[in-house]
Every structure is written in structure tokens, then in C-alpha cells.
Amino acid sequence: MTTTPDGSAAGLTVEGLTVAYRTARGEAAAVTGMSFHVAPGETYGLVGESGCGKTTLSRALGRHLPPNGAVTSGRVRLDGVDVLDLAPADLRKWRATSLAVVHQDAGSSLDPTMRVGPQLAEILRLRGLSRAGAREEVPRMLARVRLPDPASIARRYPHQLSGGQQQRVVIAAALTARPRLLVLDEPTTGLDATVEREILDLIWMLRAEIGAAVVLISHDLGLVGRLCDRVGVLYGGHLVEEGNARDVLAAPRHPYTSALLAAVPRLGESRHARRLAAISGHPPAAGENVAGCPFAPRCALADGLCARTLPRLEAAGTRHEVRCHHSDRLYHPSSAVDVQTPARLRDDPGLSPTAADPAPELLQIRGLTRKYGRTTVVDDVSLSIGHGQVLGLVGESGSGKTTLARAVAGLGPRGTGTISLDGHALPASLRRRDARTRRRVQMVFQSPDASLNPSHTVRTILARALHTLRGSVSPQELAARADLDGHLLDSRPDRLSGGQKQRVAIARAFAGEPDLVVCDEPVSALDVSVQAGVLQLLSDQQRATGTSYLFISHDLAVVGYLADRVAVMYRGQIVDEGPAGRVLQGPHHPYTASLVAASLARLGEPTEQDTGMVQPGRPTGPGCRFAPRCPRRIDGLCDSENPPVRTEGGDHTVRCHLGIGDLPRRAVPVTIGVAPGATEEKEDPSA
């Protein structure tokens, strides 16, 4: 370990940091006794769910807490400088020279009324450059973050850039000085999978170049594991586990880390093969002070000791520490959490509809087109869903997947094309659907907060649905089927956690025994530990009632877990559709391949899939819509002629100019790629 002249370690050292907020109910600690060290050039990942204190920590590192927050004890040192001791003028100088912070939602960290160039130039001027020098340097800064045509980017306003481009600009701004500490606070949350991949690649490349201590804060354990050298897991304001990324992810020693890993569906894993291990309850709210171990209320291993005494952070291996009284009882995630998987689920043929056994069709969509103004959002889409089948629909934001789903439910703009249910035409407008049809098609929405009327109790919400949909059970029974505690019936939604709200929304959708439930990103707003429970509920409800789902998500693994068939949507068109396993495995569309790669590949390994920038705007001319970003593009063909729809194995269709034999595919079955030897195989064009 290198040291600074005064003897302390180089890099970032946090010692016993405690941050508290003044609230109406007194002081509430958001971060308690946090200690960790990040060497220069090292990447340290901090993982945690909402309310665990990670945002507070990131703000404390830059000494930029909100007015009612304060560091009550502990130190933050960077290369020997005590950050919390700096006088205001020195703090400014320290921030200008040593600190760089990149936040979630880059768009909002840029002044919306100022062009990108001047915003960057202003930072360069602060670093002492002349006006002309700054102007000259700006394009170089933008080129450094691999933005094409930097001169044109510099002339644009932030809103004229895509989310990924905005994030690159913010990273460029962060790197104007040679920072000693780079804090990345959820830098890719809200970005599409392929764009996220590009940004992470960029960070990976730059981190070696700048040699700073990097702190990456994220809710995504897999992402942190792929990018970081070391990982710290936060829960309830405490560091509960810390160690080398590979060790923590391969052999977690804290029940929370272990449960978190077991709660995430892995790519290619199906609900027919494994039950997700949901963690009961929900994370403590920010500032909720608990005596004892914060995870105890949700922990399978907890006993009286855990409830009374907060465990100390103790060594559990080489550079691996864990804060648990019972870490010796936990070795492998599956042994501790995966116990509830009923064996019969694994290979019960009746429960897993296969391609060889096509279910009779419930929903048929033919040539559906929907426009917002002059923009075609859904373009001539045809799809069908069988009885008792789950169709997963994946695509990035703006692909039209939500518009398509809403059209099935009878919401959104009108357009052309037909939808039929059991062979009978389904009117496009909700007003013209009769009571019986409305009862048959219901929907679960994305945002748990907006899904439920804040003025009604859960009982009223369910009773209204039972009344209008002519359900035959009581609200209590309906709630019980969704694993909701009876005592919640008389609460209003603001007393419910996100997961509970979504359970109420699911119960409501099932009030009238529907044939088809449209699920629009039902788990994307939930914390990872809660998401598993809701996915499991959806899966159980499906199994119990035989209802069909149109299930939408941007997360390939989630879709793959729940769906029997998967459709991939790109810019309004279905480019790939077929049985879940075959779509994920290939041969599949190059875009599907890029989605699979984005969720699996290890960083720092340039892949063939080097996609270009997402260009704003929609090409309306002929040619494949994916062509501008496609690594397999055939110049002169893909950009000028519409691709044909190719059929593979009878019921798998791909919209591509490449022949089935030339389509990308994965060499080995897909699973998550952290453990050694797992899955970083490149696509094999020859297969």
C-alpha cells in the first residue's frame, strides 16, 4: 500500500463515518460507522437497495450533504487530506482539483438553458485555461469520452442529446481535472441495457487512464460485481459485507448478500426450473433506527442475539469481512435460501408448455399500427398468445412495447390493425368493449405509487374491482390470494411498501377472473429483494388460474424467467419472436444478441458487438431499423431494403437479412457471468 508523506494511506479512506439527518422526529442516522479504503486505481463498489444510505454516503464523500444532514462522527481522507476539516475556500479548491462526481440521470446535471460546449468551457476556465484555450480543449474532452463529431455535440443543448450522450458529457466534465476520487452514483440507472453497456465500457477504459480511487454506487449487484475490484454491501446504513468482488458474489458470507443473489433471476433461467427466493418484508426506511442487526427482521438465521446486538464486522476470509453473528452457518446461497423449491416443479411436463405443444390461441394481433402525432410507435405488429401462455415482450425505452400493451388493454391512441380474443374482434377503444370483455382483459401497471387511488383503502380498492368486474370472492380472500396480510385491508396506499402496493394491484387485476393480464413492467420500480416476491406471485397466480400474460420488461432475465415465449421489439417492430429458450439462445436477431451480450459480458473485453450511438429520431425510410447499430450490417442491403422475416424451427421468427445459419447464437447455455468459467463466450458466427 502506498502512503502519503504524513504516513496515511494514499487513496480514499473512510473511518467510522456516521451521517445523521435532523427530522421532525429527532435525529435519524442514515449511515452508521462506515469504514472502508479505496486505493488509487482501484474500483470499489457499494451496493444497496433504496434507503440503505448509499446516496447519503456519496454526498458525504463530496461533503455536500443537504442542510439538515451532518456528519456526526468519523473521517473522510483522500491522499491524507481530511476532507471534513477543510475550510470553505480549501474545500472548493479540493473539489475543483481532486473530486469528480457523476450522478444518476445525467440530463439533470447539465444546465438545460446552456449549450454543452460553454458548460464544459466554464469548468476548464475554472482550472485556469484561457477563453481560447478552453474553446480548443472542449472537442478534445468530448472525443476522450468517445463522442462522435465533438464539434457538433458542443453546439447542442443537453436536451438535444440522447441519455447515453448526456452521460458521456457529464463524465467528460468530471474528468477535466485529474481527479483523485471519482464517485459514480448509479451512473447507468435509467439507461437502456445496450447504452448502459457502452457507458460501463467507457468507465472501464478510463479508470486505468486516470488512476483515481473510484467509488461506484449501485443497486445492481451483478453490475458492481462485473466492474469492481472490491465490493461493500450496504444494508440499513451499515456495511454488512466487504471483500473482493469475485469472493463476495461467488461465496457471500452475509445472509442478505446471499439472499439478494438468490432473488435475482439469472438469464436463461425459467420459473419452471427454479422458484425465486423472495426475501420477506422490506428494507428499513432511510433513518429508521434499529437496535441489533438491521437485517434480523427479514433473516432466516436470525435469533434473539441478532435482535439485541449489532454484530461487528469480522474477517471471514482473505480481505473479506462480514457483519453477522451466524456467518459460519452460511456457505452457499442455494443451501440457505433455495430450500423452498418444490422438486415437482422442475420437471412436471404439464406445467411447462413447450413449442411442440402449441396452446390454442387466446389473443391474436394482426398488423397493429399506433402513432403519436406523426411518429409511428407501433409499426404493423402481429403477435399471438395462447391460452395459459406467458408472452414476454422486451425492448428498450421508446421501442413501442408499452404502447402495444396498452393497445391490447384498450388504452392509448387509436390506429389500424386488429386484435381478437378467442376469435372475436376486440374493439380498440375501451368504451366499445362490453362488460364481459373488459372483465377478461385486465392490466398491472408499472408504477406502484400511481396504481392505487391514494384516497381509498385497500379494501375499497379491491371491493370496487370485485363489484365492477363481478368477482365472486370477498376482498379478504382476494388479498389473501396475493399473500397480503389481512390487517393491510384498512390501510391507504401511502402506508404500504412498493411491493405490497404491487401485490394489491395484482390482486385487483385478478378480481374478475381474467383470461389475459397485461403486465407493463410490473417489477421495474421495485427493489431487487422485493421484486422476486412479486415475480413469484405473478408466476403462482398464473399457475393457479391458467391466465395468459402479456408481460413487458426491459430486463431480459426477468422476461426469460417468466415467459414461455419471448418477443423482442425494436423501434416499433417485432424483430425476434419464439420460444423463450430459443430466442435467448439463438440463432437470434443481432439486436437480441446485443441485449444478451449487454446483460452478460464481462467488462473490458471489447466484443464484436460494438454498437454505434443510438441516433435520436426514427428512420422512416426503407431498410432495417437496426442497421445503423448492427455489427453484422451488409452495406448496400440492410440500409436500403426491408429485411425478410425468416422462420427457424417452425415457430421462431427473425426479421433479418442474414440467413438462419448466419444469425448470431450463443455457444453454451446462458447463465449469469460472474463465477469463474461461466459465460463470457463470444458469439460464434460460424455455428
Binding site: 433504496s50 442542510p67 444518476q104 443497486h219 432511510a286 384498450g410 388504452l411 368493449r433 392505487l452 368486474l469
Partner: protein
């Protein structure tokens, strides 16, 4: 994902409580005066005393007398009633009508909304004061006309706020869920949306009440208020302004009375808005 939920400083800060308290005391004071002034006024406000015209404030007449020798204090106390006869019914009318219009336009959307909003736009663009001058001058002075004119000019304001709030709610998933299961539109409007725009309605009600007092006072100043001869504050300012140099107290007393009532109401409205919108 990961909504940053930092604990926010609590909404009920002391300044809200102080402002609310001061405001409530002022408004309640004038409300009591409006009812009980016959017992509080030292003189009959209409009693003319030609021998004691323009008496400066002093022992006999605390706030002096006017050109007819009428007691300024008594007239000021009596003047609370006309304003408070007009403002509450006008506000109630405007809030009820505006809320209904806003709810209907916002819930239905489409053509209904388009037509309602274009009509409201035209009305809003037409300056309320001009409308008031036109209507009151031409159709005669009466409490009813005054209430209708003030209410009418506030309806578009209330309707627009309620419509805006309704549009926000209408897009939320809980309303779409209700539409999906086939709730009729009156049920969407009254059962689903109305409870969630109540804050907006309450904020509008308090703000419009202050504005109604303002409008009633201004109209009576312009000579468009209640029938002549009433001790109306606005009218008193207007009548006595000719003797401003000679007897400024005759103008200042009703002016300060208006000022205190509107300021009191503004303090109440602002504090309540801060509290409701934070919750």
C-alpha cells in the same frame, strides 16, 4: 428505481404557524365585527352632525368624523358587513362551478375539454374588471349582481387549476385501472379523481376568497358596489378622497381596514397552501 428519499425538513415551520395565527385572528376579528358591529360602534354610522364635521381623531371621536360629521370609527366597523356579505357567497359559487367545470373538462378530455377550454380562454382574456364595469354599470347595483360578477370572473381560474390537477390524476394508473374495469365517467370523476384534487380545490377556495374581498372592495371603490349610502369601505375611500388633504383619517381608516382584512386572508391562504401542498 432508487428514488432518493432524503428526509426533508418538516413542513410546519414556526413561520407558518405564526402567519396562520395572525391571519386567523384578523379574519375572525372582522367576521365578528361584521355580525356584532351595532353593539360595538360608539355612534350610529349614519348619524350626521353638521356641527362636528372633519373633527380630527381625539377623545370624542377616536378616528375623527367626515364631511357630514359621521363617526369614522363607527363607519369603519359597519363597513365590514357589506364586504363579508359578498365575498363568501361569490367564492363558494365560483369554487363549486369551477370545480365541476374543471373536473368535467379534465376527466372527459377530447372535444369536450377543447370546447370548454376555448370558452374559458376567451373569458379569461377578457379582463375581469372590464366585464365587471360593463355588467354592474349597465344592470344596476345589487348584492346579487356583485356576487355573480365576482363569481363569474373567478370560475375560469378555478376551473383551470382543477382541470390541470385532474389531467395529472387522469393519466395515473389507478384511473386507467378504473376505466379498464368499466367504471362510468361520473364515478371516475367523483369517486376516483375528486378525492385526489381536493387539495387543489381547497387552495383555490382560500386564494379566491382573498381575491373576492379584493374585488368587492375595488368594485365598491369604483362606485359599482352596493347601493349608495352603505358604509362600504371602498365607497368610503372613494367618497372621502376629495377631502384627502383636509381629513386624511376619513380615507385612511377604511383603507387600512381593507388592507388588514386582505392581508389577514392572504396570510391564512398562504399558510394553508404551504401546509396542504406539503402533505
Amino acid at each position: 428505481m432508487n428514488a432518493v428519499t432524503l428526509p426533508v425538513r418538516h413542513a410546519t415551520r414556526p413561520r407558518f404557524r405564526v402567519a396562520l395565527g395572525v391571519g386567523v385572528v384578523i379574519v375572525v376579528f372582522w367576521a365578528v365585527v361584521a355580525v356584532l358591529w351595532p353593539h360595538l360602534a360608539p355612534y350610529d354610522p349614519e348619524l350626521q352632525d353638521p356641527l362636528h364635521r372633519f373633527v380630527p381623531p381625539g377623545a370624542g371621536h377616536l378616528l375623527g368624523t367626515d364631511q357630514f360629521g359621521r363617526d369614522t370609527l363607527s363607519r369603519m366597523l359597519a363597513g365590514a358587513r357589506p364586504v363579508l356579505q359578498v365575498a363568501p357567497p361569490a367564492t363558494a359559487l365560483a369554487v363549486i362551478a369551477g370545480t365541476l367545470v374543471g373536473l368535467i373538462a379534465g376527466t372527459h378530455g377530447g372535444l369536450v375539454d377543447e370546447i370548454v377550454m376555448r370558452v374559458l380562454d376567451a373569458v379569461v382574456v377578457f379582463p375581469a374588471i372590464i366585464a365587471a364595469v360593463l355588467l354592474v354599470a349597465l344592470s344596476g347595483r345589487s348584492v346579487t349582481i356583485l356576487v355573480l360578477v365576482i363569481a363569474g370572473s373567478f370560475v375560469p381560474i378555478v376551473a383551470r387549476s382543477v382541470r390541470a390537477a385532474t389531467l395529472v390524476e387522469r393519466e395515473k394508473a389507478y384511473v386507467e385501472a378504473a376505466r379498464l374495469r368499466g367504471e362510468p365517467s361520473w364515478s371516475l370523476m367523483l369517486r376516483e379523481i375528486l378525492p385526489n384534487v381536493v387539495t387543489t380545490v381547497l387552495v383555490e377556495a382560500t386564494s379566491r376568497f382573498g381575491d373576492a374581498i379584493f374585488a368587492a372592495a375595488t368594485l365598491s371603490f369604483l362606485g359599482l358596489g352596493q347601493p349608495p349610502g352603505s358604509p362600504d369601505w371602498g365607497a368610503s375611500v372613494s367618497d372621502n378622497r376629495l377631502w384627502l388633504q383636509l381629513a386624511p383619517w376619513t380615507v385612511l381608516a377604511p383603507a387600512l381596514a381593507i388592507a388588514s382584512l386582505v392581508v389577514g386572508m392572504a396570510l391564512v391562504a398562504d399558510s394553508l397552501r404551504g401546509r396542504w401542498e406539503a402533505s
